[in-house]
Symmetry: C2
Subunit: 395 residues, 2 copies
């Protein structure tokens, strides 16, 4: 059977060059980067080199990169660490309604610790209005955290415009760039943010490796207390193979980014255009153009996303119905509810995230397989039966 | 030049079998364990299998294992997570004076959040007296955290006796078993603890992978908020290759443990016996017998540990002068000060941690190389000159 992997938002494969770069650090180069001998020096040099490469991907300085275990840790460190470091000035945090749970749930934890949280809404395309951010900022605001792009609907946010506001008001601004760093151009100075999260498993690097960039001079409280690693901002023995893989993936992403974008975008647009023409009652979620190059997201009315996933899987097609982090929770996505979709429609969410391995044939295969699956599921749906009856009755 | 690595406490090499087990997960098996399709299933099954193996190493049930990014995260999650979950009952935490910084500094963070910390002292061998723990427990004690063995001086603590006390008083008891799990027998039920930390890079597994075991029914607050991974107790995409490597290392450690102990112990004892007979003014630190099988630790008077490290490194020998996590801080170890060594003597700390690759020839090489290095350093030491003058004057 044909195999088509279209769930790169959940995890990308690791590039062979990235694996190659990691292998020595699973073998002969096993020292602890903090050790004062040759074994330690070798490991430390590799970590330093990776730090340069990750910094290079986002136009930053190496010393401002904090390596973490991935996007979730980066976001937890950013939201909790930046807010706690500034709690003397105030205990109010602004986030958007469609942040990843690693940001939203970190904000909930801050609430338990006496912070107040303001959730800025999004429009029906999933875009934050910078004016709404401006209005939500108070005298006691310690942090603003708005994602660069949403991994479920792909909408890219006006980060630069928001940063102009936070800069004027002197509020630290963190952006979760897990869905964008390594995928579209991300430059911390162009964006004007003060902190930025990224994760290796989103751009053909390894799982278990991510980073938080924090602008020089911005104070942050560590989340993992311990040794003096990462300038005292993140304790714990460095995951050397993971960090080296992250560095290599960052280097390659930087080199190949424009080529990747120009390959993925037309494939994405094929899905965005063709699926609605072949399947009735389907809506594209997120902004139609201002979206991630490899992300095509839909809600299919009168079906359950999970059932569709299973049937697509039985045809060799891997997709998701939202964030992998919540896939088994089987709840309507907070993102889809925030763009004003009903619970009913949000249930039919299906998310295609394309990767470097995908071809036009893959997309054609999906376009062929999906309509009969949707039809079959609708035949079993009481809601669809009711809809058909009502609309016929209305004739 | 001969190469002798004796810094296994900083990081062990990865066993070839462990690397082999990890390779597919850096290649064709790249799914996210949370994804609802074949790619996700494959990754999830591998994580489940690793969970069984890690649980097997410590006599636990798989579902009570929380995978983390390593020992530091495990300790942070334990100390902060267990204390915060019980803060309604009281805000007092008991630790020993010689805990790893990931425990001690987590306790400091709790202090900032309104907790009170009691540091139980140790005797001159580095052992905690269970009676001291008993005396330190108050009505508002939320957590006791005492390490299983210290990675700098090797002393193994009377965990079972302490657990008998905490059990009677119904206080959750965490032990940092990073230095022992995979090295000496560790069984959570024999020990009687409620939570236990371990790390892969201590027993020939990968860096970036560790675990916290938490007894069923003991409440813990997550440190990394986010998705529903690890039963909602630790968000973040699972580091599948790291977890698989940790599982494999745990499986092998369990099988080979007694053989490893019987190989390492005589080599360690060679160092403990021979170095003091060849070098004057040297003291063994930690308990002479009740210590980790591969750990030989000393303080050499009238020299600086770091200078000794450099010269040993120039002879191809890798050792440490304490915890790798603090090696570059160049401060006298809190562990050595806690066993009542003077700052002066503590400066001359040297720590040999043996591993599977070490041979009798390695130890003989060290025994040959070290005395002239110590002699050379002492000839440059004003303190030694003063000592010689004083002792001659006293004749």
């Amino acid at each position: 059977m044909k195999k088509v992997y279209l769930d790169n938002a959940a995890s990308t494969p690791i590039l062979p060059e990235v694996k190659e770069a990691m292998l020595p650090f699973l073998g002969e180069v096993f020292g602890n980067p903090q050790s004062l001998h040759d074994w330690g020096d070798q490991a430390r040099m590799a970590v330093d080199e990776a730090r340069e490469k990750v910094a290079g991907l986002i136009g930053a300085e190496a010393e401002d990169i904090i390596f973490t275990s991935g996007g979730t840790e980066s976001n937890n460190l950013a939201v909790k660490g930046l807010a706690l470091a500034r709690q003397g000035q105030g205990k109010h945090v602004v986030v958007s309604a469609i942040e990843h749970f690693s940001v939203l749930h970190s904000a909930r934890t801050l609430e338990k610790w006496g912070f107040e949280i303001t959730e800025v809404p999004v429009d029906k395309n999933g875009a934050v209005n910078p004016e709404d951010v401006k209005k939500s900022i108070r005298k006691d605001t310690a942090l603003v955290s708005i994602m660069h792009a949403n991994g479920e609907i792909g909408t890219i946010q006006p980060i630069k415009e928001i940063a102009a506001i936070t800069k004027e008001l002197k509020i630290p601004f963190h952006t979760d760039a897990v869905a964008t760093a390594g995928t579209i151009p991300v430059n911390v100075n162009d964006l004007g943010v003060d902190a930025l999260s990224l994760a290796g498993s989103q751009f053909y690097g390894p799982k278990g490796a991510g980073a938080l960039w924090v602008r020089k001079g911005v104070r942050i409280m560590p989340l993992l207390d311990g040794g003096i690693q990462e300038g005292g901002r993140r304790g714990g023995t460095e995951n050397v193979p993971g960090i080296v893989g992250l560095g290599k993936a960052a280097e390659i992403a930087r080199e190949q980014m424009s080529k990747r974008i120009s390959t993925l975008t037309p494939l994405r647009d094929m899905l965005l255009k063709e699926l609605p023409s072949r399947i009735p009652h389907i809506v594209v979620t997120g902004h139609l153009h201002n979206r991630l190059p490899g992300l095509a997201s839909f809600c299919v009315e009168f079906i359950e996303g999970e059932a569709m996933l299973m049937l697509l899987n039985s045809k060799g097609i891997a997709v998701s119905s939202g964030s992998a982090c919540t896939s088994k929770a089987l709840k309507a996505s907070h993102v889809l509810l925030a763009i004003r979709l009903s619970h009913e429609i949000a249930q039919g969410s299906v998310l295609f995230t394309l990767g470097l391995d995908n071809t036009k044939e893959d997309i054609e295969y999906v376009l062929e397989m999906m309509p009969p699956i949707v039809e079959r599921l609708r035949q079993m749906s009481p809601l669809y039966a009711k809809y058909v009856k009502t609309s016929q009755g209305g004739k």
